[in-house]
Symmetry: C2
Subunit: 250 residues, 2 copies
C-alpha cells in the first residue's frame, strides 16, 4: 500500500508515527490501526481513541512494524487511512482568505513541508496541481508532521482549472517567482490570496506565470542566489497571514 | 577530508558542485580545484577564475570525482577550500542589524538551509553555537547552496559567550520558541536583532531562554503543531529584515 498504484486502487494510505496517527484519528480518517506492544504502552490515548471510533486495533510484532515502515526507526504505530484529497468543486469555502497551490512540485518532502507551513499559516486549502507529487506518499506524510490531515486538500491535474477555481473564489493569484519584478515587501498583502509555488528546479511554468495576477519575488537582501521552496513558501504564506491579521485588528 | 577530524587537522574542506565552487572562488577561499573533462567544458568560467587566482587546477577522471563526492550524482567539480569560520571577536561589525545564532542545531541539512535563509535575508553574520554541527560538513555545504561562503561565520562552543557578543554589539536577543507567550506579530521588529534558533528536537535550552531578551513564538493560525527549524527561521529572519527596511524607507 506504500506504492502509488496500490494506494489509488485501495483508496487507502499509511500514516506512520504517533503525530500522524493522532492527526488521522482527529480527522476520523483512520480505518485500521496497527501497534506494537511498545507503542501501545507509549501511546495509550491513541489506542483508546481508535477503539472509541470503532476502529479495529491489531497488535503487531516489532518485525512486522519494520516491514510496514518506510523509516529507519519505526515508531511501531501505523494507521491505514482514507485518502484525503477531495474534488476541486466545493474545496474553497466562501470567505477563504489564504490558499496554497503547488504546481508541479516533485519532491514529497518539499510538498509535505509546504503543507505543514500552509497549515501553520492558517491556509483554508492546499491544492496540488499539475504533475505535483501524490501527497499520500510516505515521505510527504512524514514531512507534513500531521498537517496533511488538517487543511482541505485537492489534487488537480489541470493547473489552469485549479487557478480558475481560486479566482472564482475571489482570491488574488500571486505566483512566487525568483525573477519577478514586483517584490514581496512592496505588495499589499492583506487581501485574500492564492499563493502559487512552482517546481523546485524549474519554478513556475510560462503558462502559470501568464495566468497569475502578479508574479512576486522575495527580496534577496544578501548574496544568496535564491531560497528553497519550503522557506520561500514560509515567507510568502506568513507575510500574507500576518498582514491579513494586522489589517483586521489581529 | 570529508570527516571532521581530518577537516580540522587539514584546515581545509571540500566544496562540491558549480554553485559552491563559484561562491568559493568569489570569496577567494578555494585553494585547489579538481574538475572532470565534462565539468571543465560545462563551466569554463570557473576554471578561468581559478587560474586567474593562481589556484592549481587538476583534471580528474569521472571515477575519481565519484570518489571525492558525497552525492549520488557528482557534478565533477570540487574545490579544496580554507575553513570559513573566524573568531567571535571582530565578527560583528559596528552597525550589524541582523544576526542568526544556531544553538545546538544538529542536522547539517538544517544548518545549511538556515545559513542560506540568513544570507538571503541579509544577515550580517551567522554564529554556530554550542553543540551545533560543523558548517563545513558536506551536507551543510550543499544545503547552503553557496551561502556558506557569504555571511561571516563563527563557531563558538560557549553559547553564553556568543549571546554576550551579540548583546555587546547592540543587538536585541530574540529566541524563537514554540511555547513563548510573546507572538512574532505583536513585536516591533525593525530594531537590530540576533535571532536565536535551537535544536530541532529540543528547541532552546533553559539557559538560552533565560539569557535572551525575549522568547518569541511564531503564531500558528491553523492546526499545525509547529514549524520545522528552517521554515521558522525563514519567517523570523524575513519578518525582521522586511520590517527593518520598511521603517528605514526601503
Amino acid at each position: 500500500m506504500t506504492r502509488r498504484p496500490e494506494r489509488e486502487k485501495a483508496g487507502r494510505f499509511l500514516a506512520e508515527g504517533a503525530n500522524a496517527v493522532g492527526a488521522a484519528l482527529e480527522r476520523e480518517a483512520a480505518r485500521e490501526l496497527f501497534v506494537t506492544e511498545r507503542a501501545a504502552q507509549a501511546h495509550p490515548g491513541l489506542v483508546t481513541a481508535a477503539l472509541e471510533q470503532g476502529i479495529r486495533v491489531s497488535a503487531i510484532t516489532e518485525r512486522a512494524a519494520d516491514g510496514l515502515s518506510e523509516t529507519v526507526t519505526p515508531q511501531g504505530i501505523v494507521a491505514v487511512c482514507d485518502l484525503l484529497d477531495r474534488p476541486l468543486e466545493g474545496l474553497l469555502a466562501p470567505g477563504a482568505r489564504l490558499v496554497a497551490v503547488l504546481a508541479d512540485v516533485a519532491d514529497p518532502g518539499n510538498a509535505g513541508t509546504v503543507i505543514r507551513v500552509a497549515d501553520a499559516a492558517g491556509a483554508d486549502a492546499v491544492i496540488l496541481a499539475g504533475d505535483s507529487v501524490d501527497p499520500h506518499n510516505g515521505k510527504c506524510v512524514r514531512a507534513s508532521a500531521g498537517s496533511l490531515f488538517h487543511p482541505p486538500l485537492a489534487r488537480v491535474r489541470d493547473t489552469a482549472a485549479a487557478l480558475e477555481a481560486c479566482r472564482a473564489a475571489g482570491l488574488r493569484l500571486l505566483g512566487a517567482h525568483g525573477y519577478a519584478e514586483t517584490e514581496l515587501d512592496s505588495m499589499p498583502l492583506d487581501r485574500p490570496v492564492a499563493w502559487v509555488f512552482g517546481n523546485e528546479a524549474h519554478g513556475l511554468s510560462p503558462e502559470v506565470l501568464e495566468s497569475v495576477d502578479e508574479a512576486v519575488r522575495i527580496p534577496i537582501y544578501g548574496a544568496a542566489e535564491s531560497l528553497n521552496l519550503a522557506t520561500a513558501a514560509a515567507v510568502c504564506l506568513y507575510a500574507s497571514a500576518m498582514a491579513s491579521r494586522r489589517s483586521n485588528g489581529g
